[in-house]
C-alpha cells in the first residue's frame, strides 16, 4: 500500500480476539512490515497483535512504533523538526481484557480508562496524562503481573482495580518514541480472577461493544488537523541541503537550524533559491557559513 498520509493512531493488542472487533470496526488490513508479530493498517492507523505477557507486549510495541516512525519520517520529515516527541502527531492505544481485582460481577464487560499503572515486578508506577476522556467511561487503576493470577489470595499486593499482563510492557516499549500524553490504556473487565472458559464467547460481545463505543470517537478525533510544523517541507529540505553541502558539524547544524527557525518565526523569508556549491574546501565552507548567516540577516554583535 502506498501511504498518502502519516499514521496518527496506533493500537497494541495482546490477543487476536481482542484486536478483531477494532480491526473490523475501523477497518484495517493485514500487512507484513516486520517479522515476529501480526500487523494491520488502515489509512492513518496501524495495529499490532503482540501475544501475551509483558515482554512480548514491549517488543511488539517497539516494533510497531519503529515501523510507524520510519514510515512517517519518510513521508513528512519536516513534521519531526523542532518537536519534543520523537513521533509527533501520534497517539498509541492499548485496548484489552483485564481481571477485576475486587471481584465485583457488576463491572464485567465494562470499559475502563486507566489512570494509574503499576508494574508489579519493579513497583514502578506510571500515571497516564489524561488530557482527553470519554464521557461515560469510568476510570480505574491497573497492575501488570508476570503470570496469570487466580483467587482471593492473588489479590494481595496488587493494589489496583484491574490486573493484566501487558500494560507496563507496552509502556516500556513506547518510551523511546512517545511522550506520556501520547499513550492511553483502556481495559475491559473480563473476569473476576477465576480461570475463564469459552473466552471468545464470553468476551466477544464485550469487545464488540467497546469497539463500537471507542472507534467512532477516535475517528472524529483523527479528523482534527495535526499541529502545524514550524517549517514547511520546502524550507526544511532547503535547510538540510545547505547543512549537508557545507558539511556542517553537529553543533553547527543545530545553530543553523535555530537560525533558520528564528528567521521563519520572525516572519522573514528563507533564501530558498540560493544553493551553496558542493565539494568546497574547508576554508570555502567556512566562508560560506558566514555568507549564509548574512543571508539570514545575522550580524556580529
Amino acid at each position: 500500500m502506498v501511504r498518502k498520509c502519516p499514521i496518527r493512531l496506533g493500537f497494541v493488542f495482546a490477543l487476536m480476539d481482542e484486536a478483531r472487533p477494532f480491526i473490523r470496526e475501523w477497518p484495517m488490513k493485514p500487512v507484513h512490515p516486520l517479522p515476529g508479530f501480526s500487523f494491520f493498517q488502515g489509512e492513518d492507523v496501524a495495529a499490532v497483535v503482540t501475544g501475551m505477557g509483558s515482554e512480548r507486549a514491549s517488543a511488539g510495541t517497539t516494533a510497531l512504533l519503529s515501523w510507524i516512525y520510519t514510515e512517517n519520517r519518510a513521508l513528512a520529515p519536516h513534521r519531526f523538526f523542532g518537536r519534543t516527541s520523537r513521533l509527533p502527531d501520534f497517539s498509541l492505544f492499548n485496548i484489552g481484557l483485564a481481571g477485576r481485582i475486587d471481584r465485583n460481577p457488576e463491572t464485567l464487560g465494562q470499559t475502563f480508562l486507566i489512570h494509574r499503572l503499576r508494574h508489579q515486578a519493579t513497583g514502578e508506577t506510571f500515571y497516564p496524562d489524561l488530557l482527553y476522556r470519554w464521557e461515560g467511561v469510568p476510570e480505574a487503576s491497573l497492575t501488570t503481573v508476570a503470570k496469570p493470577v487466580f483467587g482471593d489470595s492473588a489479590k494481595e499486593g496488587l493494589d489496583a482495580d484491574l490486573v493484566d499482563m501487558e500494560g507496563s510492557g507496552i509502556l516500556i516499549g513506547a518510551r523511546a518514541f512517545l511522550q506520556n500524553h501520547q499513550v492511553h490504556f483502556y481495559k475491559i473487565a473480563s473476569d473476576l480472577l477465576s480461570p475463564m472458559k469459552n473466552l471468545r464467547q464470553t468476551t466477544g460481545p464485550w469487545l464488540q461493544q467497546s469497539a463500537r463505543k471507542l472507534v467512532p470517537g477516535l475517528k472524529r478525533w483523527l479528523s482534527q488537523p495535526p499541529e502545524s510544523p514550524p517549517l514547511t517541507e520546502a524550507q526544511f529540505v532547503w535547510m538540510h541541503s545547505v547543512a549537508e553541502k557545507l558539511r556542517f558539524s553537529f553543533t553547527r547544524t543545530k545553530t543553523w537550524e535555530q537560525l533558520c527557525l528564528s528567521t521563519v518565526l520572525q516572519g522573514k523569508p528563507l533564501p530558498l533559491d540560493y544553493h551553496p556549491p558542493a565539494n568546497l574546501s574547508k576554508k570555502d565552507q567556512h566562508e560560506q557559513w558566514h555568507h549564509m548567516q548574512k543571508l539570514l540577516g545575522v550580524t556580529k554583535p
Binding site: N180, Q224, L259, L261
Partner: protein, 352 residues
Amino acid sequence: MASYAKTSGRDETLSSVIVPSPQRSFSHLYIEKEALDEPDTKLLRKRFPKATVVEIDRYTELFNRSGQSFAAQKAVPKLILAKKREDLLYRGSPYTPNFGHRRFFYNAMILNCLYNCEYCYLQGMYRSGNLVWFVNSGDFFQAVAEELKKGPLYLCISYDTDMLAFENLLPLCARWAEFSRKEPGLTIELRTKSANYRALARNAEAHERFILAWTLSPEAVSRRYEQGTPPITQRLASAREAMEAGWPVRLCFDPVLLEGEWEEDYRQLFAEAFAQIDPKRLQDVSVGFFRSNRDFLKTMRRQRPDSALLNRPWQADAAKQLTYPTSEIEEARATLRSELLRYLPEGKIHFA
C-alpha cells in the same frame, strides 16, 4: 455515542478540543497518601467535588518523571496535592532583585501557575505543566520562623507560581499576611499578575511589611504573550484598590520585551499606571529585561517550537544569561529610566 473531550472538568464537545479552555477547574486530583488527612487537602477536595481522586505515593513520581509535555499538560493541568519534606526555604537568586535586603529568601508552596506566559521560565524549569500544591503549610511557616531567629528576613512567596490567583481556593496569601504582621523581622513580597486582590482583602488587613507586587507589560505584549492573565486595566485597578486600603504596592515591569514600538508602548503603560497609582504612595518599581538561563531556554524552545520570541538569537551577557545585546539593554535602560523619572524619584527605581 460517546464523545471524546478534554478533561478540563466540564463537559466539552470535540469541536472545542483544539482551543485550550480557560476553565480553571481540575478533572483530577492526585493526592499523596501522606497528605490525605492534611486540613488543606480536605478544603481543596471540597473545592473540586467532581474531580477524580488518584492516590499517589510521592508527587515526584508524577511531576518529575521524564517524557512529559509541559505544553500539552498546561492546556488541561491536573492538581497534585503533596507534602514538601525538604527545601522549605531557598536563598534568593543573584539574578533577582533583593531591594536592598541582605537576607533574601523565597519559598515555593505551589509549583507552576494558572497562567501560560510564553516567556515564562517555569516551562524550562519543570518537566510537568501540572500544578503541585504543598498542603503542609504549617511546615513552611515553621521554616521561616526558624530562619527569623537568625535575623530579619525578606521573603518572596510567589516566585514559581502566582499565589494570589489561587486565593479563592485557599487563603494562603492572607495566612502569610497575618503571619508577617506578627513577625516584626519579616518582610514579604507577593508577586502577581492576578486581579484577585479582593480575595486577599476578605481575609487579611494591610500592613507595611507585606508588599503586593504587580507585574505589568504593555497591553500588546500582554495580549500576545501572557495567555490567561487579566488585562492590564484590571491589574492596575487591583493595585489601586490595594494601595488605597494601605498595602505597600510595587510595580514590576519584568520582563521588558524590546518588541515593535516598545518605547511608545512603555510610555503609554507608565502614563496609564501612574494615572491610577499615586507615585508618592508607591513602594517602588522594578524593571528587568527578558533574560534566561541557557538550559532553561533550550527546554523552553523545545516546548514551544513555534515561539518567535523564544527562538530568536539571544545573546549571553557577562553572567552567561541569554538576553538582548548589552548595547540594546543599555539604551533601553536609559530610555525607561528617564521615562520613569518623570513620575518617580531615582531611589524608587530598581533595575534587575
